[in-house]
């Protein structure tokens, strides 16, 4: 029971819920609450918490970076999220707790924050297609099957399928007909080639 935690969140029901869940872990000597951003910095300075769980709406990315700078990695900061935030902002946190997470999941995340190992950063999805994915896309919209594509590119059908998955994921387009329109719009393929 040596660690200390600050929970910064405007909504009382969410704040109290987090306090309840965090206290149940039994590793925190103190769990403090902050309801508005004006008291936040003051609290952190005074109580030197090991973990801060905060609503990203209460802090700017500059403030967040300053905080981490000042505490040299001794302060772990998790976001508690129930709205849509910029990936850049969320990536600046050590972890993200969703309001819909189960108690077990939240407790696991808090535990992981206190572990020595640096937490895994959620990587920002890359939306541009790789050269290989472009090759697959070109053949795909010409009407070739997975098997034919694999023969042409000297890769396994398994690899073709995994490229297709990535393409769909990056572009948010599933069907071949939809991909065809995309490919023409981006001049990956000409109108004549798909006729």
């Amino acid at each position: 029971m040596s660690k200390s935690l600050i929970i910064a969140e405007q909504s009382e029901i969410i704040r109290k819920g987090l306090v309840y869940i965090a206290e149940a872990i039994g590793i925190f000597r103190s769990v403090r609450e902050v309801a508005c951003s004006s008291a936040l910095m003051d609290h952190i300075e005074r109580y030197q918490p090991d973990v801060l769980i905060i609503n990203p709406g209460m802090v700017s990315i500059e403030n967040l970076e300053n905080l981490k700078e000042q505490n040299k990695g001794d302060l772990k900061i998790a976001a508690v999220v129930y709205a849509l935030f910029d990936d850049d902002l969320l990536n600046a946190f050590d972890d993200v707790i969703m309001v819909g997470d189960t108690r077990q999941k939240i407790q696991r995340k808090i535990h992981a924050l206190l572990d020595k190992t640096p937490p895994r950063k959620a990587s920002r999805p890359e939306n541009t297609l790789s050269a290989r994915e472009l090759d697959v896309l070109k053949l795909l919209v010409k009407g070739l099957s997975n098997k034919e594509i694999s023969d042409k590119l000297f890769i396994s059908t398994h690899t073709v399928i995994s490229h297709r998955k990535n393409i769909t994921h990056k572009l948010n387009i599933k069907s071949v007909a939809g991909l065809t329109v995309y490919a023409i719009l981006n001049e990956i393929i000409s109108m004549e080639e798909v006729q």
Binding site: L171, N172, K174, V181, I184, L185, M191
Partner: protein, 236 residues
């Protein structure tokens, strides 16, 4: 917007004001607008609609998480079929033609040869939707109607019917999925059109259609299929 769980005592106008998606449900129950301050219960009594059924359908439609199986037991299958068929009618006679017109307008506003491909994509998609609806209207729903009639007449003889709801469950697919492709293309990838508003209008309508189809499918999957499965068990 907060979720709305409706009850018989609520005023119909309040429900629609709170959640505009309730608006398209009115014709599916044969309810016309202009009902003043009447409550759900009063309007249902007026129109001969079972109030519990109305409440169940609206709640399932408006809330993805809402699903009280307790109420399914005494739900009138014929009423459910009518509701689903009315929804199909709305898609076929109102929504799809409107979408087709908007797409045509959009096509004319974009100066790019790819619009031909877009139209092809859309036409194929609409054909798939129509096939889906036709299968339900001509195969699945008539089976359910026949089953319900046998139960009403206490004939309980299924020997002439070579179908069961499991077949429907098996082949019932998501027709709204491809709409998300169209959405991505329109939001992210299409070149600027001459008329900036037509694209927004088209997107608005596509998203509305998508949501409607998702909710419709949920009623088929979570209400129709379980009820019919219960009826089948009763017979066998």
């Amino acid at each position: 917007m907060q979720d709305l769980i409706i009850s018989g005592k609520m005023k119909m106008a309040d429900i629609i004001n709170h959640d505009k998606r309730a608006l398209v449900l009115m014709p599916r129950f044969g309810i016309e607008l202009g009902f003043g301050d009447q409550t759900v219960k009063e309007i249902c009594a007026d129109k001969g609609i079972d109030t519990d059924f109305f409440i169940l359908m609206v709640n399932v439609f408006l809330n993805p998480g809402y699903f009280p199986d307790r109420k399914l037991k005494n739900l009138d299958v014929d009423m459910l079929l009518l509701y689903l068929e009315n929804s199909h009618k709305y898609y076929l006679e109102e929504k799809i033609p409107y979408l087709e017109n908007l797409l045509e307008e959009f096509k004319n506003s974009v100066d790019h040869p790819v619009t031909g491909q877009l139209e092809k994509f859309f036409t194929q998609y609409i054909d798939e939707v129509k096939d889906h609806l036709a299968y339900e209207d001509h195969t699945a729903f008539p089976y359910v109607a026949a089953l319900s009639e046998q139960i009403r007449k206490k004939q309980l003889d299924l020997s002439g019917i070579d179908y069961n709801i499991g077949v429907f469950e098996e082949r019932h697919d998501n027709i709204e999925e491809k709409l998300s492709d169209l959405k991505s293309l329109l939001i992210k990838y299409f070149p600027t059109s001459n008329d900036r508003y037509i694209r927004i209008r088209l997107l608005n309508e596509l998203m509305d259609f998508e949501e409607d189809l998702i909710n419709h499918a949920r009623i088929e999957d979570k209400v129709l299929i379980p009820i019919v499965a219960q009826l089948e068990q009763k017979i066998s």
